[in-house]
């Protein structure tokens, strides 16, 4: 080792740190943290007459948030997102469970088949449901041909359609973490439970489910988060009659030009998600790392 090597070693990490971390962190500060701070700060200001913001402190955005008109939309969005998440869990758990038990190469094929639709354009997937469910669409014409109905049903533009669209879009996000959790499960645990006389249902409730709980929670979070803040699916499949909080935020920014109130709604959205994130972390810790 040469004499100057320790000093070179001492200096190099600082320069390396600057070169490696500097550009990325500066970019994130400029295009992520400052924009978020701006949005947060707008929640306490008044709207300008032609959009924009008047820097005059006010609490009216927050009182407006609790106006039943808006509160109902927020709570309605929570309801739709919860229903979507539960349906995704009901479909996703058995699917993930069976995929984990498939022999190769079927396991890989099934997993790719689950992910494939997710990698296709989001709007195209929503559009497919308009084609299927609209008045003269395939579902109605099939039902008419079979003589099950006399006139086309109103299948589009209700809350059920919104749930269908959300479920269709985010179901893969439920299956993947569940699969990862179930795959890691030691089959000997279930065998032990069966050998000790537990029926399959009992084994599932006392052994399999608790051990895969972290996967369940992650999957639920992955489905709930994009469902809750969505505005495209409610607009295209909901027909504007039952709008969700995402539509409300979009309208405040692009139509009503009330940025401070839009920012406040976005803060409410983030608050709901943060509470869920902490709840998930807390429960995951309780169940340990399975």
């Amino acid at each position: 080792m040469t004499v100057d090597s320790p000093t070179r070693r001492g200096r190099a990490p600082i320069a390396a740190r600057l070169v490696l971390l500097g550009p990325g962190l500066a970019y994130l500060a400029g295009f992520l943290l400052i924009p978020l701070a701006l949005v947060l700060s707008y929640t306490v200001f008044r709207r300008g007459r032609f959009g924009g913001v008047v820097y005059e402190a006010t609490a009216e955005n927050f009182t407006r948030l609790f106006d039943p008109l808006y509160l109902d939309v927020v709570l309605g969005s929570v309801r739709i997102a919860v229903i979507t998440t539960l349906l995704a869990l009901l479909l996703g758990y058995p699917t993930a469970y069976l995929i984990a038990r498939l022999p190769q190469p079927w396991k890989t094929i099934a997993l790719v088949a689950i992910v494939l639709p997710f990698w296709t354009n989001f709007l195209v997937r929503v559009y497919a449901w308009i084609v299927l469910l609209s008045g003269p669409g395939l579902v109605n014409s099939t039902l008419l041909d079979l003589g099950l109905i006399d006139e086309p049903l109103e299948l589009l533009y209700n809350q059920g359609t919104i749930v269908t669209g959300l479920l269709y879009s985010y179901l893969p996000l439920m299956v993947l973490p569940l699969y990862a959790a179930i795959e890691r499960l030691d089959p000997q645990l279930r065998e032990a439970s069966a050998n000790l006389g537990a029926r399959p249902m009992r084994t599932f409730v006392s052994v399999t489910l608790p051990l895969t709980m972290p996967g369940v929670l992650t999957g639920c979070l992955f489905v709930f988060v994009p469902s809750f803040g969505n505005f495209i699916i409610p607009e295209l499949l909901g027909g504007g009659r039952s709008i969700m909080v995402g539509n409300l935020i979009r309208d405040q920014f692009l139509k009503a030009r009330d940025w401070p109130f839009g920012a406040t709604l976005a803060l409410a959205l983030l608050a709901v998600l943060l509470v869920l994130l902490f709840a998930q972390a807390w429960t995951a810790r309780r169940y340990g790392r399975a």
Binding site: L28, L33, V39, V112, S134, S141, A266
Partner: protein, 257 residues
Amino acid sequence: MRESRLLHVPFWATFVFLYAPIVVLVVYSFNAGDSPFSFEGFTFRWYGELAGNADIRTGLVNTLVVAAGSTVLSTVLGTLLAVGLARHTRSRLLDAVGLLPAVLPDLVLAIGLLVFYSAIKITLGLHSVLLAHTVFGMAFVAAVVRTRLAHADTSLEEASRDLGAGPLTTFARITLPQLAPGIAAGALLAFTLSVDEFVIAFFTAAPTEPTLPIVIYSMVRFGVTPEINALATLLLAVSFTVVIVAQRMTRLTESFS
């Protein structure tokens, strides 16, 4: 096992649910009739009309420009960030900031950037979408490269340093080649996400320069036409090819490392 019989119902229901709409879209894209709802024979007509649609061509070019630019930026920034976070800091706060764009709802990032651009008086255009897409692209590249870094052999870097190579030489000749598969996967991910991205583009694009998803959005809102079926089928074909090629590539690189 007895329990698995019952499980077959939701298992098959999931796959039918996921693929039935896709099959219908593809079949109807070859429908000779004008109505997008009843099948009246086979044709390539809608694909021809699609090729002549100027809006879609413009949208496609815009999307490719944005995706290419933001992928280059994301890959450079994300790779440097990943190495920096993994090797030169133990700060969990910085870790969280690096991951934030990947977990933040897209709508929140979209309005944040709209407000930011307006505050610093950046006019909207393709550049504003490109810069916006780099925020999440970089986070995904960094995340993918970091998983690769976790498996990388640090003794090679130490050996390089002990043999007298400076940090830059070590980075360029030892670290980067080891990370290459991860960087390629991250870049592919950033590109795909940018091509597909709608919400952030919708808020940060100029009305005169829409990306392809924005063009599709206005077409879908306007009504159902067989032309969209043809476009949807083409997009499906592209995505399916990319996913399957990526799957093959990762299996190849895994078997070599």
